[in-house]
Symmetry: C2
C-alpha cells in the first residue's frame, strides 16, 4: 500500500479573523515526482503573516489560494526521491512552495539545497530564511541606517523584527522595540540589545510613550504592522526619515476594506521622508550574501534567534491563528516529523 500524504486544504474563505475550521485535512497517496521534479518529506513548516494575504480575495503580489487547494507555505525537509540531477534522496531542502502537507513534489527552480555549514534545517525558515533575509535587505538596502540614528521596529520580537533590531545595533543605531507584551519587550531589551521598548497594547498614549524613548525623533521605522503604531511613528519622524513598509498585519483581517487613518503627507513633505514598500523576491539574486553574513554574525554570537515551535501538521491552522493574534513569541514553526 502506498504511503499516504496528509494535507490541509482551504475549506472556507475567511472574512475577518480566520478560524481553525477554515482548513480541512485530506489524505491521498503520495505522488511520484514527474521528470525534473523532486519529492520531499517535511521536517518543519513555517507560519508567516503573508499567508493571510494569500487567502484573501483582494489584489496582492501573488494569486489567492482557491477553496479546496492545498494551503500555501514554506517548509524544510528531506528529499525522498529525485528525478532531477542536482538533488539526491537524503538532501535537506527548503522551499517557499511546500504547502501545508507532509510530502511535497517540489520544483527544483524554487527549491534550495541546504548547506548545513551555515545552520540547521530550521534556520532555513528563520534567521537564514525568509524572515532573516527580509530583515537584512529591508533594513540595510531600503532603510539605510547610519550609526547614531534611532531605529524603531514593530513586531520587534517577531520572526523579522528580532533580526532587524540586532542588525541595527551592529550598525551602531539606537534601537527601539514595539511589541504587545511586556515579556516580549523585556526579551528584546535583555537578549536582543534593544535600547528601549514600548508595549503598544498597554501604553495609555502610544505617541507619548514612543516620544519618551525617542527624544531625538525617529530616523528609520521598520514597519511590520501598519495601523496605530505607524501613525504614532509618523508624528515623530526626523528629517530624511525612512519608513520601510514590510508588513501590514494590523489590517490583515480587514483586507479589501479601506485602512483608515491620518494621511501623514504633510509630515512626509516637511521632513522629505521616504516611505517604501519591500518584498524579498526583489533580492533573490543576493540571498547568498545575506545568508553568509547572518550566519557569520550568529556564529560570532552577535545575533541570536528565538523560535516558537509547535508540533504536528494538524496544528498548522491553530499556529497561524496564534500568529495573527500576536500570541506567538519568536519565529513560529510547526514540527512535522523527526529528522
Amino acid at each position: 500500500m502506498p504511503e499516504m500524504n496528509r494535507r490541509l486544504v482551504l475549506a472556507n474563505r475567511p472574512h475577518g479573523m480566520p478560524k481553525e475550521s477554515d482548513w480541512r485535512m485530506e489524505s491521498a497517496p503520495v505522488s511520484e515526482p514527474e521528470d525534473g521534479k523532486i519529492l520531499a518529506r517535511a521536517l518543519y513548516l513555517s507560519v508567516d503573516p503573508y499567508m493571510r494575504g494569500r487567502i484573501a480575495t483582494s489584489k496582492s503580489y501573488a494569486k489567492s489560494v482557491e477553496i479546496g487547494e492545498t494551503m500555501v507555505g514554506g517548509g524544510v525537509g528531506r528529499v525522498v526521491a529525485s528525478r532531477h540531477p542536482d538533488f539526491q534522496a537524503g538532501d535537506t531542502v527548503e522551499s517557499m512552495a511546500w504547502g501545508w502537507q507532509d510530502y511535497a513534489v517540489l520544483d527544483p527552480k524554487i527549491t534550495r539545497k541546504l548547506d548545513q555549514r551555515y545552520g540547521s534545517p530550521r534556520d532555513a525558515l528563520g534567521l537564514l530564511g525568509l524572515p532573516g533575509l527580509t530583515a537584512y535587505f529591508a533594513l540595510l538596502d531600503v532603510g539605510q541606517p547610519n550609526p547614531g540614528e534611532t531605529v524603531v521596529v514593530s513586531s520587534a520580537s517577531g520572526a523579522v523584527g528580532q533580526v532587524v533590531g540586532q542588525i541595527a545595533k551592529i550598525k551602531g543605531c539606537r534601537t527601539i522595540a514595539v511589541a504587545g507584551d511586556d515579556r516580549k519587550i523585556d526579551w528584546c531589551v535583555r537578549d536582543c540589545g534593544y535600547d528601549a521598548g514600548v508595549n503598544y497594547k498597554t501604553a495609555k498614549d502610544l505617541p507619548a510613550a514612543l516620544a519618551a524613548v525617542c527624544p531625538d525623533g525617529i530616523d528609520v521605522y521598520f514597519d511590520n504592522t501598519g495601523g496605530p503604531i505607524h501613525d504614532a511613528v509618523m508624528g515623530l519622524i526626523r528629517l530624511r526619515a525612512r519608513i520601510i513598509i514590510c508588513g501590514t498585519i494590523s489590517n490583515y483581517n480587514r483586507l479589501g476594506e479601506p485602512d483608515m487613518g491620518p494621511r501623514h503627507l504633510r509630515q512626509v513633505l516637511i521632513n522629505r521622508a521616504r516611505i517604501q514598500g519591500f518584498l524579498l523576491w526583489d533580492f533573490q539574486h543576493r540571498y547568498q550574501e545575506a545568508i553568509t553574513q547572518l550566519a557569520a554574525w550568529a556564529k560570532e554570537g552577535r545575533i541570536k534567534y528565538r523560535e516558537d515551535v509547535m508540533d504536528g501538521l494538524q496544528n498548522m491552522p491553530r499556529a497561524f491563528l496564534r500568529l495573527l493574534t500576536g500570541e506567538n513569541f519568536g519565529k513560529l514553526l510547526v514540527k512535522i516529523a523527526d529528522a
Copy 2:
C-alpha cells in the same frame, strides 16, 4: 520727505480659510540698507501655496509669521541702493525673502542677481524660479520618470504642475492632468501636451475617471494636493511607482488637524512603491543646472509657461485667496510697479 514703504502685515492668524482682513496695510519710511545689505524696489511679488503653512502654528519647515510681522513671500525687483560690492543700483534681483512690500532690504546671501539672457524678471518667479525648479528637481530626481511610463500631475495647470507635465512629455512619458476646471484641463491637453485630463471637481467617480485614462496604471504621481486625488491615484499605482509629495494644498486650511483618509500601506507594500517628500531647498547647489535647461527648453518652444497676473500690492491677500481656492489659472503673480 523720505519715500514711503507700504507693507502688508499679518493682522490675525487664520483658522481654516484665510480672509482678506487677516492682513493689514502699513506704511513707514523706506529703510536705508545697513552695511553689506541692499535695498530693492519690487516689480512683481509671487503668490505661492507654501505661504499658507507659514501663517499656521503647526510645525513646518520654516518658522511662522508672527502677528504684526510683514507677510513672507518672494519677489523680483530693481536694486535702489547697495552696500554690498556684488550689487549695484539698477540690477534686477530675485529673493525668496522679499515680503509683501514695495521696498525690501535684502540679504545678498539669499538674493540672486538675474541674468536676463535666461529670461525676464517675471520668469525668475515662475519657470526659472521656485515653481519651475521644483518641477525640474522633484520630477527628475525624485520621480525618475522613464520613457513610456504614465505620469499623473495634480494642480496640473498650476505654477509647478504645468512645468512637470511638459518635462515629463519631453522625457517620453504619457502625461495625465488633474485639475478642477475644464478650461484648465483643455489648456493642459491643447497647450501643454498632456495626453488626457480629469476634472476632479466634476468627476462622479474620481478613481474610475482616473482609471479610464490610465489603463496601464500609474508609474509616477506628482502630488501637489494630497487628499482625495492622492487616494484615487494610490489605488492605481503600478509596480515600483514613485509618489512625489510636493504640496498638500487640499489640507492647507486644516493644518494642525489630522488629515484622515485611507492609509494605502498595503498598496505601497505590494507594489514596492516609494512615497517621498520634496523641498526645493535641498537642491540649491544645482539651481543653475535647472535654470539653464529650462531656459533652453523654453527657447526651443518645448516648454511654455502660463501666468495669471494681478495688479497692486493691496491685492496680495485677494490673490492669495484665489490661489487657495484654485481660482487662479497659471502661475499667480502680482505686479507691484512698472520696470
